[in-house]
């Protein structure tokens, strides 16, 4: 895959919190219409990576290239402005507001005389595009199931017409059927040509939906695999570092030998 196809590229991103190096020299590439799963054990740096991309924490060093331009992401607003949308694990929905109100929160149509009709129409269009199973948009989000809430959160992130969407543990709190629903949704995002970064520690989900798996271990890259030619054992080995992985050994040899490109 050539570099110009990548909508988002990270090179050598490093982030430390005090004496702790949360991310060291991390690379990541996402192409349009590609689902990249970022996996790793607890403390591997997945959440830190999300926070850097969504503008919660700036990176200490390294470059972020978005649509062939080197960019900085100092604030969440900057990330949204670039076209990087994030769906947080806790979804950040207001339970007392209904679906339409949540979808358009902070970006209402016609601020001084809300255009409810247009907002509702656009909500339905959006939800239909995602084949969302939400019976009515005029109920408080509190009465929706976990999968439906995830759908609302994802739909909301699509309103700004993003290029890259980051899903933080989208299936963590869901049952079997709801997980399947969300995975369908992820595939639909890919069909729409978005780059999707999915943070997960559920191997089954990753293998079901991702094109590429990037493994983080202790804040460093520990291999990038194409899903179609990697086994679950290999992935788990890379995540845990149990059988000091081949890819990592090769990388280490090449760095020592000075042949790294």
């Amino acid at each position: 895959m050539s570099a110009q196809q990548n909508v988002l590229s990270l090179r050598g991103v490093t982030k430390t919190f005090g004496a702790v190096a949360a991310l060291t020299d991390v690379d990541l590439d996402v192409a349009a219409g590609e689902v990249v799963a970022v996996v790793g054990d607890n403390g591997a740096g997945k959440s830190t990576l999300v926070k850097i991309l969504s503008g919660v924490h700036p990176a200490d060093s390294g470059t972020i290239t978005f649509e062939s331009k080197v960019v900085g992401i100092p604030t969440p607003a900057a990330a949204q402005h670039l076209g990087i949308a994030t769906v947080y694990q806790d979804l950040a929905l207001c339970e007392n507001l209904n679906v339409v109100e949540n979808l358009f929160l902070g970006q209402e149509v016609r601020p001084f005389r809300l255009n409810e009709v247009e907002m509702e129409t656009r909500s339905w269009e959006l939800l239909r595009q995602l084949s969302a199973k939400i019976p009515t948009v005029r109920v408080p989000v509190a009465s929706l199931s976990g999968g439906q809430r995830q759908t609302v959160a994802i739909a909301r992130s699509l309103l700004g017409d993003p290029k890259v969407i980051i899903l933080d543990e989208p299936t963590a709190a869901l049952g079997v059927a709801q997980t399947a629903e969300v995975l369908n949704l992820v595939e639909r995002l890919r069909e729409r040509g978005l780059g999707v970064i999915m943070i997960s520690h559920n191997m089954a989900d990753v293998r079901a939906v991702a094109d590429t798996v990037a493994v983080l271990r202790l804040g460093r890259n520990n291999g990038v695999f194409a899903v179609k030619d990697v086994t679950a054992e290999d992935l788990i080995a890379a995540i845990t570092g149990a059988s000091d992985n081949v890819v990592a050994q090769r990388a280490a040899r090449r760095t020592e030998g000075g042949v790294r490109p």
């Binding site: 929905l93 207001c94 007392n96 507001l97 929160l105 970006q107 809300l114 409810e116 199973k133």
Partner: protein, 412 residues
Amino acid sequence: MSVTDTAKDLQDERLLERQGVRGVLDGVIDRARGGDLGMIPVVAGLVVIWTVLQILNSYFLSSANLVNLAMESAAVGVIALGVVCVLLVGEIDLSVGSISGLSAAIVAVLFVDQGLPVWAAILGAVVAGAVIGWLYAQVYNRFGVPSFVVTLAGLLAFLGFQLWVLGAKGSINLPFDSGLVFFAQLAFVPAWLSYVLVAVAAGGLFATGFLHARERRGAGLSFKSVSTLLARSAALLLALGFVVWYLNQTRGVGWMFVFFVALVLVMHYLLTRTKWGRAVYAVGGNTEAARRSGINVKAVFTSAFVLCTTFAAVGGILAAARLAAANQSSGGGDVNLNAIAAAVIGGTSLFGGRGTAFGALLGIIVIQSISSGLTLLNLDSSFRFMVTGAVLLLAVALDSVARKSRTSHGRA
């Protein structure tokens, strides 16, 4: 019905079909069971209180007494409207009584002692109220001090400020021939105009409903039928018409009460039909989610505090005008708790994100009914405090129980 001719928002087969008056009733019962009580407790409470008080004293529901009740409601009602704003963002203002007293004192001193024109005196007091709210918001936003502590400090500090402004005399009478006192005591809407206003209200309800329905129909969404809209407007016309007719049997509807209702309508519009209103409910429901949606949360808190204290100042001016005096006990006693109780009884949640402007209107009528009824029974303020305290406790308990029920029924 095939999918093609069903409105875009009613296509899901899981939706229960509900039509007509019966459907509306079923919906209300459903929501109440789930803990979404809305206006039910306050309306039920009002019926019970009015029935009991009427049995105890047959003068209670007389036209003359209800005219008075409406006039008495306006001042504290305006304060309660401000309390609704601050409760909606999940905060509280315990100092509204002191601020209303201070504003009464400022008006009296500027108008009577300093000889300024009445509008300048009013402006001075309202600006003072707004500045206090801005100060609260600064302390809250910058230092993160809980609002009940900030405003508790304000309760004491502004009471002291009120006493200092009033000086040694401790009491200033407002001249009876001033427009302010006339407005609060003697200005009543002429009978013909009151009926015109009722007709305008009913017509306005129908017109907005009709335009909205037409717009929804054009967009292929479900819409209310013309007959439903007509029925709704007719019901409003009859109900309001009857109330106004009954009040017109004696003095009629006071302009001060009309002013209060107009403020309620303005706040209702701001809260339900503007981006700012949405932000207020969002901040009250989930502050972090609101922040991540790009809402300027600090500005929303500031606006809520400023509105609350400004309304408290306006209420204080109205109370002083009604009494034709500002003194050391202005805004003291039960004003504070009555205003908060009115907001809570009217269905505004202490936990934020839930409540309406109309709640302040209904809530203050409940509170004022109790107060008026007990006064008619020749019970002194000791009983009034006890009963109002009990009603407030009941309202808050109901709010907490409803909240639990909402959580268990997935309505949060």
